[in-house]
Amino acid sequence: MIIGLDVGGTHADVVLLGDSGLVREIKVPTDPENLFKTVLAGLETIMAGIDPHQIRRIVLSTTLTTNAIAQKKLPPVGMIVSSGPGVDPEFYRTNSHYFAVAGSIDHRGREVAPISVNEIQKVAEGFKAEGIRNVGIVGKFSVRNPQHELRIYKILKDHFERLFMGHQVSGNLNFSRRVATTYLNAAVYPIHRSFFDAVKKSLVQKGLNVPLYILKADGGTMNLEASMEFPGQTILSGPAASVMGAVGFAPIDMDAMVMDIGGTTTDMAVIRNRIPLLHPIGVRLGGFRTLIRSLETRSIGIGGDSSVKVSDGELIIGPEREGPAMAFGGSNPTPTDALFVLGEMTGGDREAALRGMTAVAQDLGLSVEDAARRVFDHACHRILSEARELIDRINNRPVYTVQDLQQGDKVNPKVFLILGGPAPYFARRIEALSGSRVRVVPRWQVANAVGAAVARTTCEVMVFADTQLGIIRAPEENYSEKVNPDFSGSDAVDQAYRLLKMKALQIGALDEDLEMEVLEDLQFNMVRGFLTTGKNLRVKVQVKPGLIRDYERWTAKFS
């Protein structure tokens, strides 16, 4: 059996999956001040009376690191940044202990200017004097040649607890994002480490010595050990959990739009042929743009509990949530209250909901029913227009070849998959307003936790080869070899797949789930003085985000 746990803003959803399908589902309230307690309470409750030996693994999706970043509660980190010429590295400052040092590497990975050992040592002394324990080291073009980062690492390694190097956080180009990503990894590391060390310890004490996986923003998982290397990858896993919960119910050979309608926000994503679309670069959070792999999602501040206001005759819904719906003891009218007034929803205080909607109706000059309809339709329209924006954003993304520009097929979701608390109520109306086919994801209230439980382990590998320089490298994988002039594009793809498989297994993938694909395969003849002098190859491969092989067996039993 597998446990999936997804911590949200108000609840932590926990599921237990097994041969009979969804064995158990529970919700425990989230204590934002004590996530550890929340997670443990969730695990204990779901495990009550279950033999620990039956649990094969536990997958967790938490808001721990996301919250730390969003609330700017990050411990001090030392940053050493070597940029060389270009944009002033001062613009990419992430924190106060941030030092730009000498050293420069060019776009082909050739050294332009060396680093200065003295300078690094001086900066390190300063860090030590300030009591800094974790350091990030980032060089421009270090993903083409990591030697400067490695040299700096060597100088520092005996003096600090943990060092993060830019070339290891991602194989993609983008120096400013590499700086931000390395910083975030170093900054959330101590928070992540102490939290999960404690979780692991408690589980072991309860006799639950099972593999622990953490959900990432790209909808894949990694094992606990890997998460200690790249704790930054755990941020923004929440929306990914919901999307993965819908994947199993998405149509084959068709695009689908997932909408997770929660209390405060609605998160959206697109699934093509049961594979969620990835963001081309990475997560953006709390003013940081990163290289952290992520699903392409869009969030809007509208949910069942969004506050409803009328300002100058204009209806405003969200983006704040000011407590629960009035029907559930809140003090502000919400779309959920509108549903009570319309008689769609029951099981709460309809009188309170009516009171709230009456005030809205007076300001709008409508009857209470009409006002409630207006509120609910407005929320649905906003969600739909946001969905269209997401589709436009994906379809209008620049491409760089004639072929892609001519033949790049456009995303066109024909089905909407809705989950989250008020899913069924919204589904009916969204179907009527959009004319699209709408489906409520089975077990919509805990589908996010199911998603976490059945998500497979994912990763990507980026390889580049330059036969003029006679090298093939994947610095992120600590790989570098000499190649002959006849090294070809398919050789590069083969090597990329080998590295990918190795990496995936190391971070916890099962052999049976290694569904790999090429994301990018570019080959350029390098011509100097009218003679072809070599080939420049760039290959990017990934384990596709998707579900573990067992999922179908289990989810087929969902009603």
Binding site: F91, H107, R108, L173, N174, T401, L405
Partner: protein, 437 residues
Amino acid sequence: MLKAKHKTGLVFFPAFDWAISPTHPEREERLLYTQDQVLEEGLFDIEGILEFKPDLATVKDIQRVHFCVPDVWRVTTESHFISAGGAKTIGIAVLDKTVDKGFALVRPPGHHAMRVVHGARGFCNINIEAVMIEYLRRAYGVDRVAIVDTDCHHGDGTQDIYWHDPDTLFISIHQDGRTLYPGSGFPNEQGGPNALGTTVNIPLPPHTSAEGILYALKNAVLPILADFKPQIIVNSAGQDNHYSDPITNMNFCAQGYAALTHLLQPDIAVLEGGYAIEGALPYVNVGIILAMAGIDYSKVREPDYDPQRIRQRPDVTRHIEAVCESVRGLWDQREIKRLQVLNEKTFDHRSRNIFYDTDMIQETQKETVRVCGDCAGALRIDSSSSRGIRILAVHVPRKACAACREMAFQWYASADRGEFDHIFLQDRIRDVYEEHK
């Protein structure tokens, strides 16, 4: 957080799957390292820098500018539609005020493509700036436009298209035509009788450095622009004045290009040539983008940059000063000269041989323009190519007077169909392109 002072739009279309031929300078690899540098510097992440997907130019857009022989499809590839479309996308974004400025980093280039197109010359098939400008004139009613061509090669195609247009100021700064392709672009080339003076050529000697180019900008280009008062300034931003360019002899550098962009403040920049794909383009483009966006570019430089090595010799400096003085003199006398020509004759003729170096075609042209004080003048071009095709091209200018329009229609209607393989009419008043069959 890095923020652009001017909201800047970029179209980046490296056409990674298109080349003139595998080892041609205009090949897949050309913008590869530029893309690496631009991505690594994180320029697309800067607040206020927006990347747009290029639209495709339409056949109509091309026919608004060119007479393609025998038709548009035969002288273009998809990549030309994207490259011109990319320029157009930027133009639209600027005119719609989605952005303050924009840069189309596209290939293939276009500034050697003339009004009549039999094939490719100087790596160019269609003039992407002209396609954009004439679209903007049609769609947004833009009238006065200045094109400042800073490619190292004389922008003879753009010059040809705007030779008779008094509303388009074409200024080209380039390496002296006696030392470089296409061999034209001397100060006495000032435009046809109806637009005398609005073509300005500033040939600079080989080994001109940033100092010399910026001198020409400050002492000739900027004062002339101030006099002309264009509604928009377009920069044909060739990058082959660079000291490391393999096919030219100039000594410009990334800092110089950024400074030029900062001084010129173009509304729209369009990439032209530039073939030092590793040592120059990555750095030059980063410099230009930062300068356009109004962001500090002082730390941008090439890995092998050595100001001593490319310092301008005193004799080169003196030569440039003299050229600029003569250009200013010609500009100041343009009105007197124009009035003089107007009174001299009713028609003006040009006979030319045009060589298409890329496609190895020889074209012979006889051009007739009606000398007119009221508009750009009716235009008639009798053009034959070494491929054995002869066409008659008749052009009614955008703001043609009644008499010129009448003249053009008469030429078109009375042309001897036995004499020409194709007879085309480009009527810019109705915005139509027709073939007489």
